[in-house]
């Protein structure tokens, strides 16, 4: 494995982390769209509180992936942005509307909060579809410089649906953890809408629904791949790492479902992350050594060696700064609330 392959792995890693974190933020917006029942307001508040401190940091993984792509594989970036102009523009519009609507809802005053909540929810639901469609078109090669709508084909549509289901599934699992860890928290007695066991259960049921949607859409992807990209479909079984990773994904999926049914949310979260990672890794293993189907390989699109030699250490250095900071961010906002008497509960204000 040489420098281009290593950088391609980093690129895939950034994309995976984007889907696991930023993707789940979009998924949370989907549950905002489907907030129902007596606890609809509490559900929305949980979503908003879960997103507020972290969504911008999660979003940066997408920027990292783009920047690494155009630095290390410039022709691939050019091909991607030309052939997939339309779904990328749709993706960007979703990104812009989701992010702005989220802060407008939060800071724009009570009069407009309602309106922005809808924009936020709809944009959250639409964006992962286009992200998935882009990835599907990159896999099947259903994209062309001459026909800007060539990406409207079975596989990209199926991957778009699967990406939406995946984001919704991950988000529901995370939110179930978030709700259950805040039950009876510091604000429990004063706040009538503080998370309850019922709220956690709402998201447990949503997670199971998301799981089923993911299974169905993944089956849809398999069928579409056979129609649309038979070479890729074959490699899902024959590529060195693809089949074992697929098996890991399937096992983790079953275990995650069991954990969800039994209400073991933290375990379910770990298993769902393993499931999603193994699924996407199996996909990537079958796609390699292509970068953008049908014509651009990792080697063929790589920048000159001098660029990769400098970019490598820059990315390692960046990871050394970013990953511990990110871990700390998640620890501060996603860890269970401190018990009374814990020094961290000391409030300065």
């Amino acid at each position: 494995m040489g420098a281009p392959e290593l950088i391609a792995l980093v690129l895939s890693g950034a994309l995976l982390l984007y889907i696991l974190s930023g993707g789940a933020d979009f998924g949370a917006g989907i549950w905002d769209l489907f907030a129902r029942g007596p606890r609809a307001h509490a559900q929305r508040r949980l979503v908003e509180g879960a997103l507020a401190p972290v969504w911008e940091a999660n979003h940066v993984w997408l920027i990292v992936a783009v920047v690494v792509l155009f630095t290390a594989f410039p022709p691939a970036f050019a091909a991607l942005t030309i052939r997939l102009h339309v779904p990328l523009v749709a993706l960007l519009i979703g990104v812009v509307l989701r992010g702005s609507a989220l802060v407008f809802r939060q800071y724009g005053g009570p009069d407009s909060a309602h309106r922005w909540q809808h924009v936020f929810a709809v944009a959250s639901a639409a964006t992962p579809f286009f992200l998935g469609a882009v990835l599907g078109a990159v896999t099947s090669g259903a994209a062309s410089e001459r026909d800007l709508l060539a990406w409207i084909a079975p596989l990209p549509i199926a991957t778009g649906a699967a990406a939406t289901a995946l984001c919704a599934y991950l988000a529901a699992v995370y939110l179930a953890v978030e709700a259950s860890s805040k039950i009876g928290g510091a604000s429990g007695e004063t706040d009538p809408e503080a998370p309850t066991r019922e709220l956690a259960d709402d998201f447990r049921r949503r997670a199971i629904a998301g799981w089923i949607a993911l299974a169905v859409t993944c089956a849809g992807c398999a069928v579409a791949a056979h129609l649309d990209a038979p070479r890729f479909a074959g490699r899902l079984f024959t590529a060195a790492w693809s089949a074992p990773l697929g098996a890991v994904a399937a096992a983790a999926a079953v275990a995650a479902l069991v954990a969800l049914v039994r209400g073991r949310f933290r375990l379910a979260r770990v298993l769902a992350i393993v499931q999603a990672s193994a699924l996407l890794a199996a996909w990537g293993a079958a796609h390699a050594p292509l970068l953008i189907a049908p014509d651009l390989t990792v080697r063929g699109a790589a920048a000159p060696p001098v660029t990769l030699r400098i970019l490598g250490p820059v990315l390692v250095g960046g990871a050394l700064v970013v990953l511990p900071s990110l871990y700390w961010l998640m620890r501060v906002f996603k860890a269970p609330p401190p018990r009374p008497g814990d020094p961290r509960s000391g409030s300065p204000t």
Partner: protein
């Protein structure tokens, strides 16, 4: 240049013009909010805590819009000018990658700062805010270096119009890096601090002597005054570098039609002989090349001249205002409260932003018809995708809408702030 290319240029232009305002605020606002929190910890005065919290709210809204509009730009490099990154990505991707890392730390520590008031110890909280400010400045520096390279590309050899033997480190050492970075970061501080000062000057005109707004105005001026005073010096340095490396852009900026020895410069109605020669080359007798020295097809749009005048004019007024303010402060041994001075501060509120946009027009329109100066023409960089009027229109509508909503949200926040201060 065809219609498609014009739509591509137009979309890039307004995307940047939109983003640059939020990017500038993302650089400077964290400095103000941390300064307010530090003052609160030092003095214990509640107005500073209130101020830190209010400014943090403003930062949250504006930073988010900056983050999403910045993402659009990263993609637009390819969506509109794919041949640019195809040729330049390997050379100039490095500062973009560094910018990505800096932006990452900015987003992480901003999350910790905004939502960590009750979760972090005081020192740690201030440190997070300081890291936001530092990463903001760093990411601005890196992305400006990429732009500096587009104006003065280095680190490669041209062979049949292609860049070979590339050296990404040498590319980052472009002679335009230093002055462009300083000019941009100072512009961000000026634009933001002058706008903030204007908001609080307006509140003080309505309610003279309010301690909250006086504290806010003091901090905003502490940022605005030094940057407004330093900016003309950096601008002069920038002018000399442009004279040396982009003589055509200098001619366009100064509207110099013919190559002239001992070239004069008009300051208001007075024409000072040899002044332009002296400013550009440090020698009043030097010859300055005029537009006639270059093929007409390479001339940038004449708007460069007007934008340059706007930038220099507003920058000079801002520097003058800074000097007068310093004088008043020194005479009163404190913040002035004369109404004419407050009115002037209010009037100058948009000046920093307008000057920054004008400066951006000077450097970017002045670079045309090149994307990479002397290497790649914009017409050759543009995407083969057709129908670009559609994304042009879509994003234009979205950005216009966002601008209106941001204005409404910020008005709401400012009104809440002034109401709170009036109750308090």
């Amino acid at each position: 240049m065809g219609n498609e290319a014009l739509f591509a240029r137009g979309q890039m232009a307004y995307s940047l013009a939109f983003h640059i305002v939020f990017a500038a605020i993302g650089i400077a606002m964290p400095v103000l909010m941390v300064a307010a929190e530090v003052m609160w910890r030092r003095t214990g005065r509640a107005v500073y805590l209130e101020l830190a919290r209010r400014w943090a709210r403003g930062t949250a809204v504006l930073f988010a819009v900056g983050a999403v509009s910045g993402t659009v730009l990263a993609f637009e490099l390819g969506l509109l000018f794919p041949r640019f990154m195809e040729h330049a990505g390997a050379i100039i991707g490095l500062p973009f990658s560094l910018e990505g890392i800096a932006f990452f730390t900015e987003a992480i520590f901003l999350g910790l700062y905004l939502y960590g008031w009750d979760k972090l110890r005081p020192r740690l909280h201030i440190a997070c805010g300081a890291l936001v400010a530092l990463s903001g400045a760093a990411s601005a520096a890196f992305v400006t270096i990429a732009n500096a390279w587009m104006n003065a590309p280095r680190g490669f050899r041209l062979e049949d119009g292609l860049m070979v033997d590339i050296d990404p480190i040498a590319a980052m050492g472009t002679p335009f890096a230093l002055h462009e970075v300083l000019h941009t970061v100072l512009a961000a501080f000026m634009a933001t601090a002058m706008a903030v000062a204007a908001i609080h000057a307006w509140a003080l005109l309505r309610r003279p002597g309010s301690p909250f707004h006086r504290a806010a105005l003091g901090l905003a001026l502490a940022v605005a005054i030094p940057s407004a005073l330093a900016q003309p010096l950096v601008g002069h340095m920038a002018g000399q570098m442009v004279a040396r490396h982009q003589p055509l852009k200098l001619a366009a900026m100064d509207g110099l039609e013919r190559t002239t020895a001992r070239a004069p410069m008009s300051i208001g109605p007075i024409e000072v002989p040899g002044m332009l020669s002296f400013m550009a080359y440090g020698d009043a007798d030097a010859t300055v090349r005029g537009l006639d020295d270059f093929p007409a097809a390479d001339h940038p749009h004449p708007i460069v001249r007007h934008a340059f005048l706007v930038m220099v004019g507003l920058g000079s007024i801002a520097a003058l205002h800074a000097l007068v303010t310093l004088l008043l402060c020194w005479r009163r041994r404190g913040l002035p409260d004369a109404r004419w001075w407050l009115r002037a501060t209010l009037l100058l509120g948009p000046a920093g932003v307008i000057a920054m946009e004008a400066g951006w027009i000077v450097t970017e329109v002045g670079r045309q018809p090149w994307t990479i100066y002397g290497v790649l023409r914009t017409a050759d960089a543009v995407t083969p995708v057709t129908g670009l009027w559609l994304p042009f229109t879509l994003f234009a509508m979205i950005y216009l809408g966002l601008a209106a909503v941001v204005t409404a949200v910020m008005t709401h926040q400012v009104r809440k702030t002034t109401d709170a201060a009036e109750r308090g």
